[in-house]
């Protein structure tokens, strides 16, 4: 049963610096980094010691809460450093790559013939489990539970997002293997959403339910699609996987190797010639952007401008990211910026802001907050960019005063921080919506589980 999804509420943030559909190889990175912060709520335990050699796919660390969940090395080489912060909390694992790459052989599998338990243990063993995330709480899926459905959003509506149709080109076999395997893990269906006018690789696959999505961002957010297709109720669990991670899972099944390679977009107005690059999970930012940026103060983001993480040149490509966005920093004052007419920034109001006149203009936004943090004042604006059947301001406030009962009633099981990226973007009071929601989800995870 296919069901098309069309949303009206939302906002497309059109930015300059979209990646041209040309793929080059990025410089191969010497050092690869894994950061536990990419795997929210996971407390890492080292699988091997500093100085030990390891192959691509070999476990570097595992989850303290569930030692079956392993986190593999994207490359073969040597674990050269474990960087620790306060209270010896692990911040990063550094792996020096070998010139000759060696892979752990997990064995070629036939997904059609595999049973659910086999799929599960295979994915856990080969370190592909962290690619599967769950709702509620937007954390790595709990392997002991069975989801009512699995959702894959193959439609990227975020600003400057990498085009899935392009990066997945020629990956039909891998995708098919992955979805066939995953379909064993759920009692429901594997729902895949693609853009309405796209020529997606998913269109011809078996074992999936295809949905066509149209409308402004966040139509590509998986929460939006879940809400339209099969909303999460209390006590239910759904899993989500991104298409590019499906490719890695598929390759594992077909070849027995954990291949961390992925095509990412390097985009944003501070990039000289935005295009796509082939690199690996955990590669250093330097290896991706070196020599490709304008000479102005800029912010490098692993991920898109709404949900990504700020990185410096020594930083690394995030575990789940398929885009590096670079935009100018906005650390400058603007005279009478609060009352003069605005043409160069985006606004959903018409309060002497004129972006409503130019719906197709592309903007060169910087990181300035355009104002100071305030208490919530304006009402009714969030709802215009928020397509879920949830009261955004009320749920944010319930997170702030930590009323678990109310958070649950208002729909916390259905949301992820990224769903509040747009309300955060337009927030007149400059409140940190995503952080508030993340803290709220963490509290629920801790108290309710």
């Amino acid at each position: 049963m296919s069901q098309d999804i069309r949303i009206k509420k939302g906002l497309d943030i059109k930015l300059k610096g979209e990646a041209e559909k040309v793929t080059e190889d990025a410089i191969s990175s010497n050092v690869y980094t894994l950061k536990p912060e990419d795997f929210h709520s996971i407390i890492p335990k080292l699988s091997l010691k500093v100085g030990e050699k390891l192959k691509a796919g070999q476990s570097v660390f595992y989850s303290k809460a569930n030692q079956d969940i392993k986190f593999p090395s994207p490359v073969s080489g040597e674990l050269v450093d474990v960087i620790r912060g306060e209270k010896r909390k692990i911040l990063a694992f550094k792996i020096q790559a070998d010139n000759e790459q060696q892979f752990v052989d997990f064995g070629i599998k036939d997904p059609k013939a595999m049973k659910a338990e086999e799929v599960k243990s295979h994915l856990l063993e080969a370190g592909c489990w962290p690619f599967i995330k769950q709702r509620p709480y937007d954390v790595i899926a709990n392997p002991t539970k069975t989801p009512k459905a699995i959702f894959v959003s193959a439609y990227a509506s975020a600003p400057l997002a990498a085009d899935y149709d392009y990066v997945l080109e020629g990956k039909e076999k891998e995708l098919q293997a992955a979805v066939t395997a995953l379909s064993k893990l759920t009692e429901g269906e594997v729902h895949v959403s693609v853009g309405k006018s796209s020529s997606s690789q998913f269109a011809g696959l078996n074992n999936i339910t295809l949905h066509k999505v149209s409308g402004p961002h966040p139509s590509g957010n998986v929460s939006t699609q879940i809400a339209k297709i099969d909303p999460i109720n209390k006590g239910e669990v759904v899993w989500t996987v991104t298409p590019q991670d499906l490719v890695i899972i598929g390759e594992l099944l077909l070849t027995g190797k954990f291949n961390a390679e992925r095509v990412i977009a390097l985009a944003g107005s501070s990039v000289k010639a935005p295009k796509y690059y082939k690199t690996k999970i955990g590669a250093s930012i330097d290896s991706i952007v070196k020599g490709k940026l304008n000479e102005v103060s800029k912010r490098i983001i692993s991920g898109n401008v709404l949900t990504g993480k700020a990185k410096d040149l020594k930083g690394n490509l995030g575990y789940y990211d398929n885009i590096v966005t670079v935009i100018p920093e906005g650390d400058d004052y603007e005279m009478f910026g609060w009352n003069k007419p605005v043409f160069k920034k985006i606004s959903t109001t018409r309060a002497l802001t004129f972006s409503w006149l130019f719906p197709n203009k592309k903007y060169d936004l910087n990181t300035n907050t355009n104002g100071e943090h305030r208490a919530f004042v304006v009402t009714g604006s969030y709802e215009e960019v928020f397509p879920l059947d949830i009261y955004p301001m009320q749920i944010l406030k319930s997170c702030m005063y930590q009323d678990l009962d109310e958070m649950e009633k208002l729909g916390m099981y259905e949301v992820a921080p990224e769903d509040f990226a747009l309300t955060e973007f337009i927030c007149v009071s400059k409140q940190p919506h995503q952080e508030i929601i993340r803290k709220g989800l963490d509290l629920m995870l801790k108290e309710i589980g």
Binding site: A310, W338, T348, N368, T369, R374, Y391, P417
Partner: protein, 399 residues
């Protein structure tokens, strides 16, 4: 070194100091700060609270300037030496009367805001931007300045700061100020002398024995409540050539301001529209009571009940109240459905209070304050609807 750098250096020096919020208020007035995003999204839309508030103040300016002309015009009119409406004489009187009110309102109000910001160590918030401009427009022009100052202190401290400042208050601070004046100094806030500048002074002179003619300083509502009709034309009422609070008289300019607020998406059109609907419904009910002959001519409420329902929209502070004060997002209902209910009831109660409370014929202030109190309750029930829908979905599933 330019001004920008100089101010930046002072800001850096002041970090963590007591005076930092006071300096920050001035600094951010000149320059949007150099703050960058450090959590969540990396870009932000252009609007901040200052811009939002400025739009409202901008919308108030035409009412203010018109009010200055009208203050003088009504003064000369009442004293029997009429001048042209758009004359320098008229404007000058109004300007001299209003400027001190504006200064007192802002100096006292912002002073308290800065004081609280320093005590609590946060930035000075913009809420008083609008309140400070509203206050001079909704009080009688002849109000003594000390009285205004006392009221502003009460309104800002009790109406806002005790709840935690801008965004946390339950009642609209400007209306708290006005309500305080109304209940603490009723003779200055109602009656037939206060609405035209000079009328009260003339009355005092007469009492002291001066041989002068008494001057009426009454609003149309005041006279209607007493059963008399001053005979202003509808066009006078619509364009605002009538006595009343400074900002409230010109329904025409308020209508334009309302459209501006709706266009800029700063004011809620739902609240404005539903208030008008509410007022019309109540007005029609009263009109029908008269039409059915359930109330006799000459009885207490007859004149006001007999006022055509659409006249009510033009009279008194109704238009001003619903455009500028009912729409205050902090004290109004926050949900879309709630806004319809909230607005409707404000309109409904405004006209009801106006008709049934002849001692104080302006109902919109009390109606808004009343609904401010009930706004969270309305929202609660609206949100419960969403909660129930979610629970129902679960039950259908498990059934």
């Amino acid at each position: 070194m330019g001004l920008k750098e100089k101010l930046h250096n002072i800001k850096e020096k002041g970090k963590g100091k007591k005076w930092a919020p006071a300096f920050g208020a001035l600094h951010t007035f000149l320059y949007t700060p150099n703050d960058t995003t450090h959590s969540g999204g990396h870009v932000r839309a252009a609007d901040d609270l200052k811009r939002t508030m400025t739009i409202v103040v901008l919308a108030l300016i035409p009412c203010l300037i018109f009010g200055m002309f009208n203050t003088g015009y009504q003064h000369f009119q009442a004293f029997g030496e009429p001048v042209d409406f758009l004359s320098w004489d008229a404007f000058w009187i109004g300007f001299l009367k209003l400027l001190p009110l504006i200064i007192v309102s802002y100096v006292v109000g912002l002073g308290i805001e800065v004081l609280f910001a320093i005590i609590k160590g946060h930035e000075v918030e913009e809420g008083y931007f609008v309140t400070g401009m509203l206050v001079p427009l909704i009080v009688p022009v002849d109000i003594p300045l000390w009285m205004l100052a006392v009221a502003v202190v009460f309104g800002v401290v009790i109406g806002k700061e005790v709840f935690g400042g801008t965004g946390m208050n339950i009642l609209n601070p400007a209306l708290v100020i006005r309500a305080f004046l109304f209940f603490a100094y009723p003779t200055w806030m109602s009656g037939d002398k206060v609405w035209v500048t000079g009328a009260a002074e003339r009355a005092n002179q007469i009492i002291e024995g001066a041989n002068l003619d008494a001057v009426s300083g009454e609003t149309i509502l005041g006279s209607l409540a007493q059963g008399t009709d001053l005979g202003y034309s509808v066009s006078d009422m619509f364009f605002g050539f009538i006595p009343g609070s400074v900002g409230e008289t010109s329904t025409f300019l308020i209508l334009l301001a309302g459209l501006f607020l709706i266009f800029t998406k700063v004011g809620s059109w739902r609240i404005m529209l539903s208030s008008v609907i509410g007022a019309i419904v109540m007005g029609l009910i009263f009109n029908s009571v008269v039409d059915f002959g359930w109330i006799q001519e000459g009885t207490k409420f007859y004149t006001l009940m007999n006022t055509p329902y659409w006249h009510h929209l033009l009279l008194g502070g109704f238009a001003f109240g619903i455009v500028f004060m009912a729409t205050d997002p902090v004290t109004a209902s926050q949900t879309t459905k709630g806004k319809w209910i909230y607005g409707f009831l404000i309109g409904f109660f405004s006209i009801m209070i106006r008709v049934f409370n002849p001692a104080y014929p302006e109902g919109v202030m009390l109606a808004i304050l009343l609904m401010n109190v009930f706004a969270p309750t309305i929202d609660h029930y609206v949100v419960q609807g969403n909660v129930k829908r979610r629970l129902k979905r679960l039950k259908v599933k498990t059934a």
